[in-house]
Amino acid sequence: MKKVTKENGFSKNLIVGLSRAATVAGFLFWAGVGFAQTAVVSGFSGEAVPVQAISETPPAQSDSIVAVTADAYGLSQAPLESLPVMGGTFWIVETNGVIPPFPCLPVQYWNCQAWQMADGIYLVDATGGQVPQAPRLMARQSMTANTVDSVQAAVDAQGNAVANLIEQVQDAQFMRETAAMFGLDMPMLDSGTEYSANFAYSFDTNSLWLEITNVSNGFSYYNLHNATNQVYAIMTTTDLTQPFSVESELFPADTNCQPFNLQNNGRQYLFVRAMDWTGVTENGNTTPDWWFWEYFGTTALSDTNLDSFGSTLLSDYEDGTDPNIISFSLVVTNTYVNTMSVPAQLNITHGWPNYMAVVIDDTNYIADAIWQTYTSSNITVNLGLNGGWHDVWVGLKGLPNNATQTWQRKHINLALPPVIVITNPISTTVSQPLIQIYGYCQEQLASISYDLSNALGVATGLPSEITDQYYDPNSRGFTTNYFECLDVPLTNGLNTVTIHATDLAGNNTTTNFTFTLDYSSKTNPPLVQVTWPSVGTQISGSSFTCRGVIGDPTATVTAQVVFTNGDTNIFYNGIYTNVYVASVERNGNFWLENLPISAGTNIYSIVTKDVVGNTTATNISVVQSSLVLTINPVTPDSQLWQPTVSLSGTISITNYAVWVNGVKGHNNGNGTWSANNVPVNDSGTASFTATAYAPNEQQPDGSYGN
C-alpha cells in the first residue's frame, strides 16, 4: 500500500493522486514502476501555491556542485535582497554536508548564492564553489588512484544530498498544494532529514476508501473498499484545479474490496475519486445517471431521449433493455478481389457504435474477437495471403462491456488468375474441319472469348459461352465454370486457339492451345443411321422429314429420289433439281426436310460425304399412304420442354387406333384424335411419331382396335 486518503469533505467520495515526474540526473521519485505516486492527506490547512512559481533570479554559478544540482532541478537563484528576513527556511550546504535549516539567513552566508526550492524554502551554497570535475583533475595531477575514488565518492555524496533535499522539499510542497485543494492544511516541516516520515496520515477503514495497488504496463490498479451499494462512479482528473469527470463505473461484486483498473493513457498525473452513484439522478430524470453513463458515456441525457430504435430511454431503463442496439450492413464494392487489403464500409442504420471487431475465417469469432475503439465507418480488411473464399466477420457494439453485439459477415473471394483447362478435343491432332472446344476454369468467370489463328489469318474476339457453373455449398460460391467454343473452323495444318478469360476480380488470363488439322486418318466414310422413316414405312401426306444420325457432323447429307429406272437425277430442261441437303447438328443429328413423297413406293438415296470425299450411300424406301393422319403443333410451344405433352390431330378413318411416341391416344370418331402424357425427347427439336393402326393390326401393347 503506497498512498491512501480518507473520507473527507466529499461525502462518500475518495481520492487518490497519481503523478509521474520526469527523472532528473538518475533520481526517481518515491516508488512505482516508472511512476511516483502521491496522496492527499486530511488534517491540513493552507493555501495552494504552485511549486514551480519562482521569480526571476541571476544565473547560478556553473561550476559549483550545489549550483549544478540546483540547475538540474530548474531552481531559480534568489538575490540576497529578495530573501525574507525571518519566517523562511534556509538550508545551508557546507563542504561537510547539509546542516539543519535556519529561519533566517545567518550573516556569514550573506555572500553565498541562494536558490528557492519551494515557497519560503531556500538552498544556500556554502561549499565555497566545489566543482564536480575537480577530483578527477586532481587525481591526474597528484593523487593516487585510491584517493581519486574516495574524492569522487565524496563529491557524489554531496550531489546526492543536495538532490535529495530538493526533491523532498518539492514533494512536500506538492502535497501541501494538493491538500490545499481539498481545504486541508499541511505545513512544511522545517527540521529533520527524513521528510517522508513527516507525511503520516490516518483514515477510517470502516468507511468507503480507495487504494491504489499498482501501476504497470499502462494501467493503474485500484481497490475500492467498503463499496456496499449498487454502483459507484470512478472519476478522474489530471488537474485538481479542474473538475473530476466520470471515467468508469463500478458495480461491486465484492463489497469488502472491489478491484478495478484504469488505463493511464499517457497521463502524467491522475487523481482518482470514487462516488456512490446508486440512485443518483439529475435534471428531473427518473433514469439514473449511472444508466445514462453506462450506455452513452454521458449523463447529459433525459428520460425522453430516444434509443436506437425509437423507444424512450426511460422505457429502456425500466425494461432493462439495451438502448443502443446497433444495426448495420457491411458493404464492399466487389466480393471478388485480387488484393489482400479490401476496403469496406459499415452502413449503420441503428445505434451508435463504440467498439468494433474484425475477425477473419474464424467460426469462433465471438469468443476470439478483439474489440477496438470504433473510429470510422470506412475500414480496411486484410484477407491474408491465401487465395479463395474468406469469411470476414465485423462486429459492432455500444459502450458497456456486455453491450449487444451485432455481427455481419461478408464472404470475399481473393481470386487468383484463372486457369483454363481444355477437355475436348482430347487430342491436339484432329481430323474434322469444325471442332467443338469444351473446357473449364476452376473459378467463376466474368467473360471469356477466343482468338483463332491459322492459315486464313487471325480472327479475334470470337464468342465463347459459359455452359454451367458449379455451386460449392462448402465454399458458398460458384467455383468451376464450364465453357464451350462452338464451331471453331480449322484449316489444314496448325491452328492456334487463344482463350481470354477474366474472372470477377478482374484477373486476366490468356492461354494458347494448338490443334493440327490432319485428314490422313479419314479413310472411311462417315457412319450414317436413318432414324425415321424405317424401310417400308407408310407415310401420310405429300412430304416428310427424314431424320437420322451421322458419325461426322461436318459431313454433308443429301437425299435424292431414286426412280424406278435407278436414275437419281431429275434432268428437266437441263436442271438437276432433286438434290435435297440436310441440316446437320453438332451432335450428328440430321434433318432432310420436306422430302416429296408421291403415290406408291418412293425410294431415296441418302448420301453422306465427308470433307475429303469419303461417301456413303444408303437407300430407303417408303410408301405414301392414302390415310390422312396429321399432328397439330403443340401450342404454346413452351410445353415442349415438359417431360410430357398432350397432342391432338386429324385422322381420316374413325375406327383406327392412334399411338404417339409409344402412348396410345384416342380416336375421337369425328376425324380427330388426342393423346395425353406423350413423352417429349430431350433435344432442341421435339419429334412426335403418330402411328395409325387398322382394327385388324396388332398394336404395340398387343391389343387391337381403337
Binding site: G320, D322, D468, L486, P533, I539, T545, T601, L647, F688
Partner: protein, 463 residues
C-alpha cells in the same frame, strides 16, 4: 476416299388403308429459362431467457434445406423447427416446461414425372402444459398436397449474430445460404450456322433482413408455419437494383434499359445466372426473347405454276433480309447497314442491258397491287451474323453494282437474288445455269428444290 453403298431391302408397295400409317411432327422447341439448380440452407436459433432469476426461457432452433432442386427433375427438401418454452408456473411458482413442440419437420420429395405438383408431408409432435398439472402430448403427420417446395430465384450469403438484453437476455443467430443457377436453353437445331440474337432481361431486388430485434417480437416458426415462412428474418424486398449493376453469366451487364443483347448458338444450354457485385442477398427474375432472322427470296414468274418455259423471259427475282429484333437491338448493326434491313431489294438495269452497271432498288412486297408481286416465296432461317453478312452483300450491290445483263450467263435480278442467298449460306438454284437466268425458270427451280406451297411463309432451315 472411299464410297460405300448400303442397299436396304427395297420393296415396292402401294399405300392402303389397313396398314400402319405414320406421320411425324418435328417441332423446334422455343428458348427457355429454367433453374438448373437451387441450393439453400438456413439454420439458426433464438434463445430468450426472459426470466433470469427463475430461468424462464424460450428457445427455437430451426433449419431448412433444399439440397438439390432442378426444374423438371426429382428432388427433396426439408424444413424443421423446434420450439421449447419453460417458465415459472403461475400456479406454484415452480420452473417447469410448458411448451415443447418437439421436432416439426416438413419433407418434400417429388419424382420427375410429378413436377411441379409436389407433395409435402408434415410430421409434428408436441408437448405442452396448458394448465397446472395438465400436459398435452401429441404427434402425427398429415400431407399437404400440391405444396410447392421452397424454391426461389435468389442469391443469399448472409449471417447475423447478435445478442441483447431486453425482456431478459436474447441470443439470436442465423446463417443462410442460397443460390439458384439459371440457364437458358436457346432452342432450335444445333446447326453451326444458326446463332441468334437474344435479349436477356433481369429484374433484381436487394433483400434486407429486418433487424433481429424487431423480428423476434413476431417470430414464431411454428405458429406461423406456412411453407417456408417463419425464419428468423423477415425478408423485406428492398430497393430495386439498377440494371447496370446486374451481370448475366459471363456476358456482361445489362444496359440502362435492363436488357443484355447476346448472340448465342441455337440448341445451346448456357448459364445466365445473374450476379450483382457486393450484394449479399437478392432475388431476381430472368427473361429472354429470341429474335430470329430470315432470308426471303421472291420470284415473280410470268407464268406462275408452269415449269420451265424458255419463252418466258420476263419477271423478277428479289430478296429481303429480315429480323425480329427490335429497333434498339439494331444499334448493333452499323448505321450503313440499317437501311437494308427489313426491306426487300432487287437488282435492276440502269441504262443499256449488258453494258452498264445495274442498280439496286427497294422493292415493296405485295401481291395486292401496292407492292411487287411474286409467285414464289421461300423463307429461310439465318443467324444474326449471317443477317449482317447479307446486309453487307446488299450494301455492296448498292455501292458497286455489277453490269446488269439479262441474258444467258448474264448477271441480272436472278443472279443478285441467288448471290444474296449464297451470302448467308442459303443454296438457291444456280443463276449461271443456262436456264435459270430467267425468272420463270428460276422460280420453278426454287419451288422444286424447296417443296411446298409456292408462296410458302413457313421458315425452313438452310439446305
Amino acid at each position: 476416299m472411299k464410297t460405300q453403298l448400303i442397299a436396304f431391302c427395297l420393296f415396292i408397295s402401294v399405300g392402303f388403308a389397313g396398314a400402319a400409317t405414320q406421320t411425324v411432327l418435328n417441332q423446334d422447341k422455343p428458348s427457355q429459362i429454367y433453374i438448373k439448380k437451387y441450393y439453400m440452407t438456413d439454420s439458426g436459433s433464438y434463445d430468450n431467457t426472459y426470466d433470469p432469476f427463475f430461468g424462464g426461457n424460450n428457445t427455437v432452433t430451426f433449419s431448412a434445406s433444399v439440397p438439390n432442386w432442378s426444374d423438371w427433375t426429382s428432388g427433396t427438401a426439408t424444413l424443421s423447427s423446434h420450439l421449447t418454452q419453460t417458465g415459472e408456473s403461475w400456479f406454484n411458482g415452480q420452473l417447469e416446461p410448458y411448451y415443447d413442440t418437439g421436432d416439426v419437420t416438413v419433407n418434400w420429395s417429388w419424382p420427375k414425372a410429378k413436377w411441379p405438383n409436389l407433395s409435402a408431408t408434415q410430421n409434428i409432435s408436441y408437448n405442452y402444459v396448458d394448465s397446472p398439472g395438465t400436459s398435452q402430448y401429441g404427434s402425427g403427420s398429415f400431407a399437404n398436397s400440391n405444396q410447392p417446395a421452397p424454391v426461389f430465384m435468389e442469391h443469399c450469403d448472409m449471417s447475423v449474430n447478435t445478442s441483447y438484453t431486453g425482456d431478459g437476455v436474447t441470443f439470436i443467430s442465423e446463417n443462410r445460404t442460397a443460390q439458384a443457377t439459371v440457364k437458358l436453353r436457346t432452342g432450335g437445331k444445333a446447326t453451326s450456322k444458326l446463332r441468334n440474337l437474344f435479349a436477356i432481361t433481369v429484374g433484381a431486388n436487394q433483400i434486407t433482413p429486418n433487424n433481429p430485434y424487431d423480428v423476434y417480437l413476431g417470430m414464431n416458426p411454428l405458429w406461423g408455419f406456412t411453407g417456408v415462412s417463419g425464419y428468423l428474418f423477415e425478408r423485406v424486398n428492398g430497393t430495386n437494383i439498377p440494371s447496370q449493376n446486374i451481370a448475366v453469366g459471363s456476358y456482361g451487364n445489362l444496359n440502362a434499359n435492363g436488357v443484355l443483347y447476346k448472340i448465342l448458338p441455337d440448341n445451346a444450354d448456357v448459364d445466365v445466372t445473374p450476379s450483382i457485385a457486393g450484394v449479399d442477398y437478392y432475388n431476381f427474375g430472368v427473361g429472354r426473347t429470341k429474335y430470329q432472322s430470315y432470308f426471303e427470296v421472291f420470284v415473280n414468274q410470268p407464268n406462275p405454276g408452269t415449269n420451265y418455259t424458255l419463252t418466258d423471259t420476263t419477271g423478277h427475282a428479289f430478296w429481303q433480309f429480315k429480323t425480329d429484333a427490335p429497333a434498339d437491338a439494331l444499334q448493333y448493326i452499323t448505321a450503313s447497314l440499317t437501311n437494308f434491313v427489313n426491306r426487300s431489294w432487287g437488282f435492276y438495269p440502269h441504262g443499256s442491258n449488258c453494258g452498264l452497271a445495274g442498280q439496286l432498288q427497294n422493292d415493296s412486297i405485295g401481291n395486292n397491287g401496292n407492292g411487287h408481286p411474286y409467285s414464289v416465296k421461300k423463307v429461310f432461317y439465318i443467324g444474326f451474323p449471317d443477317l449482317i453478312n447479307g446486309l453487307e452483300f446488299t450494301r455492296g450491290i448498292s455501292n458497286a453494282p455489277p453490269i446488269y445483263c439479262f441474258a444467258a450467263y448474264g448477271y441480272s435480278c436472278v443472279g443478285a437474288a441467288t448471290d444474296a442467298g449464297y451470302s448467308v449460306g442459303i443454296t438457291l438454284p444456280t443463276w449461271w445455269n443456262p436456264w435459270n437466268w430467267m425468272p420463270q425458270n428460276f422460280g420453278a427451280a426454287v419451288a422444286l428444290k424447296y417443296p411446298g406451297p409456292l408462296a410458302d411463309e413457313t421458315p425452313r432451315y438452310s439446305n
